[in-house]
């Protein structure tokens, strides 16, 4: 059994852990100087917001630029299937705030902003309550800001745009937020889970962090299991745990399931059998051309339809484009339309050719990674569901997809 770390402590159903209980269990927030960044580097901690970018490297880039930095605690969780950030904020808000405080002190930040989804009431209330409990000046001055309930609202530059201009649309880079973000100050936008890991690494060290992990992975990861599983929800696993082991934790799964979607809507489809032995660790997945993303593992059942599910997700992603860049807005819509035609009216060579061509065309041609994420998701679908895409029959809309599709 995995030793819990982030989710250790009182039962999750008890709600947010109060400050006194948190301090009693883990001790006060450590006081470290710049050595924290070295510790984070040694631990190999990568970001849990979707890009798996090394945390220490991000902190160093912010520190490198002039001006009083800003720390944005990113709990927007725009990914519909992902629950882990909400669960973390609702039950262990002080772990997240410790991490934020450590970031603010290490980077000498002038501002801390906590960015939580406007619809995630429990998480918002928990974070608001936790902030009110803290005596630390950096956190007493912290602002709690609601993120609009759109997929791109959690993107770093979109968060900055909302804070500066009240509009959560991504912005052009350069400059990246770590160079010039909120109020043109170097801005650290860090996922809540990443910050929670920071707060434990600061207490117990890099070696302790690496002492958990299998098959070469380091530390623990929060995973949301979704789709055709008996007990969907959030689990904390050691990095490197296999997909099979995670699905067992969620109640086991029909061995005839068709495929697994790893990493959420910007992730990749993997054939079910091939996915079993995949190690859920950012580095290991990257070597296989996959990504951990926001840590969602979704299962599509044997009765579900990969084409229909892909079409549904593409329609959603197309609708979530901020409509600022032509290739993204028109490209994703065209891709979604073509997928939809194959799903509804049956396979045809023209649409299949279009899917391949446009998915290639759209990549890298937006101001943010929205078109890339969607295109790579679609390309993995074309690969994993190749037989279905070329032989899909026409069928009525009402029956489209399985009830328990991922």
């Amino acid at each position: 059994m995995t030793r819990l770390r982030l989710l250790a402590g009182p039962d999750l159903s008890l709600g947010p852990e109060r400050l006194h209980a948190h301090v009693e269990r883990l001790g006060p927030t450590p006081v470290l100087g710049h050595s924290l960044i070295d510790m984070l580097e040694a631990s190999g901690l990568t970001g849990r917001g979707g890009a798996s970018f090394p945390v220490a490297r991000k902190w160093r880039s912010v520190a490198r630029h002039r001006g009083g930095p800003v720390v944005v605690v990113n709990g927007a969780e725009g990914e519909p299937q992902s629950l882990k950030d909400r669960v973390l904020m609702s039950t262990r808000p002080h772990l997240v705030l410790d991490g934020a405080l450590l970031a603010a002190r290490t980077l000498k930040a002038s501002q801390v902003i906590v960015y939580v989804g406007e619809d995630h009431r429990e998480a918002r209330a928990a974070m608001a309550g936790a902030l009110a409990e803290r005596p630390d000046p950096e956190l007493r001055r912290a602002r709690l800001v609601a993120a609009p309930a759109r997929y791109v609202a959690g993107e770093s530059s979109a968060a900055v745009n909302l804070l500066d201009n009240s509009i959560a649309s991504p912005m052009s880079k350069p400059p990246d937020p770590h160079e010039a973000g909120v109020g043109d100050a170097p801005t650290l936008v860090q996922n809540v889970e990443s910050l929670a890991h920071v707060s434990l690494i600061a207490r117990y060290g890099a070696e302790w962090f690496k002492s958990a992990g299998r098959r070469g992975g380091a530390g623990t990861v929060l995973i949301t299991v979704a789709g055709a599983v008996p007990s969907p929800g959030v689990v904390e696993i050691e990095a490197g745990t296999t997909v099979r082991e995670v699905l067992d934790m969620a109640g086991g799964v029909d061995p005839a399931s068709r495929a697994v979607l790893i990493g959420g809507y910007f992730g990749t489809w993997v054939d079910f059998a091939a996915a079993q032995d995949l190690a859920l660790d950012p580095a290991a997945l990257r070597e296989r051309g996959l990504g951990l993303g926001c840590g969602v593992v979704g299962v599509i059942s044997s009765r579900g339809c990969g084409v229909c599910e892909t079409a549904r997700i593409m329609r959603y992603l197309a609708g979530e484009s901020s409509a600022q860049c032509g290739p993204c807005f028109f490209g994703l819509r065209a891709l979604a339309d073509a997928c939809g035609r194959i799903a509804d009216k049956g396979s045809n060579a023209d649409d299949l050719a279009r899917l391949h061509r446009w998915a290639r065309d759209v990549r890298g041609r937006g101001a943010c990674r929205h078109p890339d994420g969607a295109a790579m998701f679609l390309q993995s679908a074309l690969q994993t569901f190749a037989p279905e895409f070329s032989t899909h029959p026409a069928h009525w809309r009402a029956n489209a997809g399985g009830r328990d599709a991922a």
Binding site: S172, G326, A334, R365
Partner: protein
């Protein structure tokens, strides 16, 4: 030198593709696809004209930059 583009500023007017067709072509919706390779010397003046002609200043010519990670 390579051609940089601000994808949000760009609104698909297509003058760039008219003036430097060897370097820029338009996708199915009228937005530029820029050849990834650095601009060959003999096409540099055309690249400069294309950049200058953009009505919304979405294009720029810059030193070939390292791709930022992450």
């Amino acid at each position: 030198m390579e051609i940089g583009i601000d994808r949000i500023r760009c609104d698909g007017r297509g003058l760039c593709a008219e003036l430097a067709p060897e370097l820029i072509r338009l996708d199915d919706w009228g937005y530029p696809i820029i050849a990834a390779s650095p601009v060959p010397d003999h096409l540099l003046s055309h690249a400069q004209k294309a950049v200058a002609a953009c009505p919304v200043l979405a294009l720029s010519l810059r030193q070939a930059a390292k791709r930022a990670l992450g």
